[in-house]
Symmetry: C2
Amino acid sequence: MTKGRRMKKLLIGGTHGNEWTGIYLLEYFAKFEDYDECVLANPKAFQQNKRFVDEDLNRCFSQEKIQDPGTVYERARAADLVEKIKKVDLLVDLHTTTSNMGPTVIFSQKSREVYQVLAYVQKNYPEVKFLFNPDPNKQYMISHAKLGFVIEVGPVANSCLKADVFESSKKIAKLISQAVSSQISLPESLEFYAYEMKIDYKYDENSKLASMVHLDVQGKDFVPLRRGQAVLQDFYAKDIVVDGVEGLFPVFINEAAYYNYKYALQLVKKELWPRP
Amino acid sequence: MTKGRRMKKLLIGGTHGNEWTGIYLLEYFAKFEDYDECVLANPKAFQQNKRFVDEDLNRCFSQEKIQDPGTVYERARAADLVEKIKKVDLLVDLHTTTSNMGPTVIFSQKSREVYQVLAYVQKNYPEVKFLFNPDPNKQYMISHAKLGFVIEVGPVANSCLKADVFESSKKIAKLISQAVSSQISLPESLEFYAYEMKIDYKYDENSKLASMVHLDVQGKDFVPLRRGQAVLQDFYAKDIVVDGVEGLFPVFINEAAYYNYKYALQLVKKELWPRP
């Protein structure tokens, strides 16, 4: 994939200021040569130990928001970061989740180069799952890269480091960096999960939260839902069944940040990507 | 324990504004008669979805801080809450932790009444562990009650509800309420864990965090440390051994809020409390 010249690689951490793993991994990688540059995306949010100051940075990369930053700190930051991203060949953006996702790589575009990277990661770290999350409005940071990946590992609480999540994220970041300079024989197909829909929490008549993820679903990211299985429960331990979700795979189950968006989990379906 | 008249019982939630379990349990208990009053301790912190606004409320109950609130929101709040607490016989304060503590009850004073309550909880919910945390400066809320207990359950990330933690906290809160109106034959002794010491994180020469809880210790609350076992590891996966901790039990392992206090875990020892 190198095509004669050395690829420029950028590692980003702390796009969300309370996801510490990526932030401390920047310091680790600064001592090695896997990445040419390691950048803390949202230093102000990290300083204040919160996800964002004014607006979620990883929803600020659309053309509209970059061109009209106003006084929104994260929009100005997105504009600066896009300039950096344009100059590199590979972007890796480090995230964590409070969900039990395990090691996951998110990609938003399908190309032969993406396929090659994922195949390399899978070969060396078979536990990693791949999540395809198309981004038509290019609001995510990685959508602005020639080749961009999100590393998303959990569970870890916000504003915490957890050794397993830290080491797993480190390993994936190293593998992606190696992948773009390596040649492997590509597998016939790759298994990945494609975004389908979200499941909202239930609220009471005063718009107050009135449900949580069901005990039998909590922590079961990537375990397909059974027929009639309750997805939520109310505060009186009463089951809440959602129709039409049988066979779909829940992910981002009980991610803390998604209470803001009022949803409890995402549902994805398993797909096969034939070798391009 | 009723001594002829009905005991007045107060349930407090949201002493820490990002520990949602207690906050939503207040609404649950408002519909039942287990507690006479259910009070949200730190509404401003909950509104802002953080642990506290100015100062950790559960460190604001010392005489000095209550008498000299200045402009500290939590100190004024502590003064108000003490007035409420003085008028009741039982106080239960609901907390959660990002540590894998399971169901835990914390008490700060030893008396026959405390013994009776713990014995009742143990009989009906044997998995619950008891933590003795003396509070000579009376900085914690429960120290101002005739009879006070903290319910501390984990793991759950901040600003999240988790069904197992929610149901477990609910069950303990019900049992403590029942305990003070019930007669049981007291066991000969009760097992509990008594606070011994803290283990600090390691920092680099620039005072930046340079370690995390060791992979083999993470999540192992109440599992005694072995001889020579590493308690921390640095970001290069190198073990950090701490001397003199063999046989002690780690608790509050990797509690998010304790990064502020720079410690990674507390160590407790197991003790037997003979029937008073």
